[in-house]
Each structure stands twice: as C-alpha cells, then as structure tokens.
C-alpha cells in the first residue's frame, strides 16, 4: 500500500479512526498540567531555593516535563499511523494549483 492509498483509507469515512483531538480528557490533563506550571497559587514573597532554582520555578519545570512526557505518549497512542511507504512519484503531477 502506498502512502497515498493509506491516506485515502484513513479518510475513507471522512474522519481518522483515532486522533488526539477526539478525546476530551487529553485536553483536561493538559489544562491541569499547564495550570500547575503557572505560579498563580503560591503566596507572593521571597523564593526558597530548591536544586539551585527558586521553588516555584522547579515546580513549573517539573509540570512542563510531565507535559512533554504526556505529549509523547499521546502522539504514540492516539495518533493513527502505519508503517511509512515511499512517496509515489505520481504526487508531483497533482499538486494543488
């Protein structure tokens, strides 16, 4: 199966079978993790130093590392993809004009 045939099959019913935008809970997890990365919930005042950085910066960085790991997992589990196939030469002949 060529890549173009694979694309046609995935679009056959007008929707990919599985895609990150179709699972609301994925976006809820992002909102929680990003919510933690913004220091709105800390009391104003001087920072304590953790691992050489202000404490609220460390919490922010850890939240964002979780975002990266979660994104990696979502892309692997929720983005339908088959094995790659070289592009059919015919593609050159039908570009949009």
């Amino acid at each position: 199966m060529t890549e173009d045939e694979r694309v046609a099959r995935l679009l056959a019913d007008g929707e990919p079978a599985r895609s990150p935008d179709r699972a609301w809970w994925i976006w809820a997890v992002y909102i929680v993790l990003y919510g933690l990365s913004i220091p709105w919930y800390w009391s104003p005042g001087p920072a304590r130093v953790w691992l050489g950085l202000p404490h609220w910066v460390v919490v922010s960085i850890v939240s964002l590392v979780c975002v990266a790991i979660f994104t990696c997992w979502v892309a692997r589990r929720w983005w339908v993809a088959d094995e790659p196939v070289p592009l059919d030469e015919a593609d050159h002949g039908r570009e949009a004009r």
């Binding site: 890549e3 173009d4 694979r6 694309v7 046609a8 995935l10 679009l11 007008g14 990919p16 895609s19 990150p20 935008d21 992002y30 990003y34 990365s37 913004i38 220091p39 709105w40 800390w42 009391s43 104003p44 005042g45 001087p46 920072a47 130093v49 691992l51 050489g52 950085l53 202000p54 609220w56 910066v57 922010s60 960085i61 964002l64 590392v65 975002v67 990266a68 994104t71 990696c72 979502v74 892309a75 692997r76 983005w79 339908v80 993809a81 088959d82 094995e83 790659p84 196939v85 070289p86 592009l87 593609d91 050159h92 039908r94 570009e95 949009a96 004009r97």
Partner: protein, 490 residues
C-alpha cells in the same frame, strides 16, 4: 575583525560554517527534482523523520529564542520560565492540527496554508484576508531575524563589524542557498544548524550550571540584588503568562512555515516521530536560554530596553576574554546563535516566497501559468522582499520580543478559521471572515487606547475572544455556502 574581542578564531569558525552551508545547499540542489511548486517548496513531500525533526527544530528556535529571549529573562527574571511552557505549547497545538491536516493536504496536494482555506471554505475573500495577515506577520518575523543577525555580528565584534554588514552579508548567503536548493537546501542546512544549536546549548549549560550549587550561588546573588526577579510573580504576571500560553501556541500552530513542514512529511509515521521528539526540545533549549539571561543579570548591569537584546553577545565577549577554553566555547555558541537565526530566516523566507508566488501572483497576474513559472517568480520575489526588509532592519527601534509579540497577536486571529475549520463543520466561511476581521481590528486598535493590555492580557488575546464570539454567532445564524454543503471531507 582581527581587533574584535573574539578575534580570528570566531571569524574563521563563522566563515567555515557559512562554507559548509553553501556546500550542503549545493548537494541538495542535486537531490531536488523538477522546478514544480511541491518539489521546490515542499522537497517533493519527501522529508523523513530525522530531516523533518531537524527542520522543525531549527525553524522553531530562532534569533528571538537565542537573543530576544535571554534579553527578556534579563528584564523580568525567572518568570521567563514561561517560555518553556509556550514553546512546548506549540507542540501540543500541533496535535490539534497535524493529524487531520496532513491527511487532507496529502490527498489534495496542498502547497500553501491558503490551499486549505480555499478548499475548506471556498471563499476567496477569507483566503485573501488570512493570507495578507499571515504575510504581514511572517514578514515581521523575518525582519526580527534580520535584525538579530545585525545585533549578533555587531555585538560580538564590539562594533568592529557594523550592524548593517551582519544584516546584509548573512542575508545574501541565505538567499543564495535558498534559490539554489529550495526546501531541500533549507531542510538539509537546518540539520547542520540544529546540530550546532544543540552543541552550543550543551556548552552553555556546562559553563553556567555544572552543579546545583553553582546555580544556587547565581540565584542567591540575583535574589539579594534584584529580589523581584526571583520572587513568586504577582498575579498580573501570571495573567500575562496564561495569555502568552494561549496566544503563542495557537499562532505558532498556524505559522505557514510550520504548516508547510506538515505538508512536506514523507509519511504520517515521519511526521509523528518528528513531533514526538520536538516535545522535549523546549526543555533542552529554553532552559539554557533562560539561564543565560539570569547569568546576565549577575554579570552585566544597566541594560535597558533594546540594549538587553545584547545580553548574549556581551556575555560571550566577556567569557572569551577569561580563558582559552571559554574562548573556544564562546566561538561554538556564536556559530550556534548565527545558525539558529539563519535557519529560521531561510524557512520563513521560503514560505513567504511560496505564498506570494502561489496565493497572490498565481491568482492574479500569473493566473493559469505553470507550476514552474510560479516557482521562478517566487525565487525572484524572495530577493525583492529581502531587499525591502533589509532596508527596514537597518533602522531598529523595537525589541526582538516586541516584534515577536506583535506577530503573534496578528497571526493568532487566523487560528479560528484554520484550526476550527479542521474540526467543526458548523463553522462557515463568512463567519470565519467576519471573526478574523473583527479580531484583527481589535488587536491592532487596542494598543492605541488607554485600555491596552487589560490585566496584563495581550491585546491579541482580547481580539481572539472577539474573533471567536463573532465567528460562533455568525455560524449559528448564518447559512453555509453551496461549496461548504458539498464538502464531504474536511
């Protein structure tokens, strides 16, 4: 140049790097097929996972990232850790766009982002408006890169090499390799540039913060001398932080140069792998950049406004004078910074050229011309656009981050039409157009009023809310066009 603080070693390294770029571009020229639009601007839709990752990475991290962002960290302190969040947010936003857009673009052979809008809405006024806004925004982005080239060359040479020589000289190199090799040359040179960028950042981390203790010393010094730069930020800063987290990822997700990389992927597999690795790059890249700005607070004082964009060049000059090892490290970082700037500039220029050729000339004076003719027109236009922008770049009056914010606030207005159109059939073309016009008008007008940036929120975000409200209202009460009713696959 021999009198510059970084001396002949830096000059030799930069010249060797430029020579390498031209050699890679020459090699890429052989790989390029015909002169069709998809061959020249999308590398024949043949980019595999590694090259795709390299070009996404080198394009996303730019002169803004390595000069403007340390400058902003210098100005506001540790709160600039928000940059990790919004750079990562761009990858999260790709998950909303890339899976569906890749499939549709592949099936219908899109070349520019305007092809999607044309196909989805069939409303020329919407495509023209969105394209015009996008071209203005990315021309602004390109301008920021050209200015960054001038800043870095002038700053590193201590003024021995004038700002204008940096702007004109490096721009000429980009124009040459881009004209010769198109997307093949840009993507391959991005591979070289991305690798140099990572090498430079590794050097920065090794020097600045080899241990938490050393990092702690810097943080303690900043806390004592400028406590507001380490303290928990006030709520107004958190509001700006949230606003930036929304506006940057949404606008960057519709960057035409990013969209074209989605189109250029060889397969879903390649695209998915490229984007997966990109999720970790903000940590690897923006953390050293943040720390550069923080170290700047300790080692440099009195830089205000535009001058803070010189933090990196000034630090490098200072380090180079300290020891041979640091001199060598500074040279590596110099080349990395120049690579970051050029890799973004070349991608933006290529995209700008494709949009002007296909979406503007191809629908007016060159309507009906062959794909090859449009490609040739695009190459010529690259030189014209650059000539105009170089003229503007020679009179810098705004900070690099200021230019970036302006671009984002404009570009984010295109996001509803582009992204919602991928997922919601209920969005109508006319509704998207009215929303876009209303949002752009608000974003452009608010800065001139007393209520600009309410509660620290970007004017562009206020415009986006208006944009969405108008779009939703008009979609609810308007009727879909015949074109939209006939569309089976979005």
């Amino acid at each position: 140049m021999s009198e510059s603080p970084l001396g002949l070693a830096a000059l030799a390294a930069v010249l060797a790097y430029l020579g390498l770029l031209l050699a890679v571009a020459w090699r890429a020229r052989a790989a390029r097929g015909d002169d069709s639009l998809s061959s020249f601007y999308l590398a024949g839709r043949s980019l595999g996972p590694f090259v795709l990752f390299a070009t996404l990475y080198a394009t996303q991290y730019s002169g803004n990232s390595l000069l403007g962002y340390p400058g902003e960290a210098y100005r506001i302190g540790f709160a600039w850790v928000m940059s990790l969040g919004f750079m990562m947010g761009i990858i999260v936003a790709y998950l909303l766009v890339a899976p569906r857009l890749y499939l549709i673009a592949r099936r219908h052979g899109y070349v520019t982002p305007g092809d999607w809008l044309d196909h989805r809405y069939g409303l020329p006024a919407l495509t023209w408006t969105a394209n015009t806004l996008t071209v203005v925004a990315i021309a602004n982005y390109l301008l920021a890169q050209l200015m960054a080239m001038g800043h870095i060359v002038a700053g590193l040479s201590g003024g021995a090499v004038p700002y204008w020589v940096g702007v004109v000289g490096l721009t000429l190199v980009i124009l040459v390799y881009e004209t010769v090799g198109g997307m093949h040359a840009v993507a391959w040179t991005d591979g070289v540039q991305g690798s140099l960028l990572l090498l430079g950042l590794a050097g920065v981390i090794a020097w600045i913060a080899p241990t938490p203790d050393r990092l702690g010393e810097i943080t303690a010094w900043v806390a004592a001398q400028a406590p507001e730069k380490t303290a928990v930020p006030p709520l107004a800063v958190s509001a700006t932080w949230l606003s930036t987290l929304i506006i940057v990822p949404l606008s960057a997700a519709v960057y035409p140069q990013a969209i074209q990389r989605i189109y250029a992927a060889k397969s879903i597999h390649a695209l998915r792998r490229g984007i997966t690795v990109m999720a970790f790059m903000p940590i690897v890249t923006m953390l050293p950049v943040l720390l550069l700005g923080i170290v700047g607070i300790q080692q440099l004082s009195g830089l205000e406004g535009v001058a803070a964009d010189q933090v990196v060049p000034l630090l490098l000059r200072q380090w180079a004078a300290e020891s041979v090892v640091l001199h060598a490290l500074a040279v590596v970082v110099i080349v990395a910074v120049i690579a970051a700037i050029m890799s973004t500039a070349d991608s933006v220029l290529l995209t700008l050229s494709s949009m002007l050729a296909k979406d503007f000339l191809g629908k007016t004076v060159l309507a009906g011309e062959t794909s090859e003719r449009l490609t040739r027109a695009g190459k010529t236009l690259s030189w014209v656009v650059v000539a105009v922008l170089v003229g503007v770049a020679l009179q810098p009056r705004i900070t690099l981050w200021g230019l970036t914010e302006f671009k984002m606030e404009l570009l984010v207005q295109v996001a509803p039409a582009f992204i919602l159109g991928l997922h919601l059939r209920a969005i109508h073309g006319r509704a998207a157009l009215w929303g876009l016009l209303a949002g752009a008008a608000v974003a452009l007008a608010l800065p001139f009023t007393p209520v600009s940036r309410p509660f620290g929120v970007h004017d562009g975000l206020v415009g986006l809310v208006v944009n969405l409200a108008v779009c939703a209202w008009a979609s609810a009460f308007g009727r879909r066009s015949r074109h939209e009713k006939a569309m089976k696959v979005c």
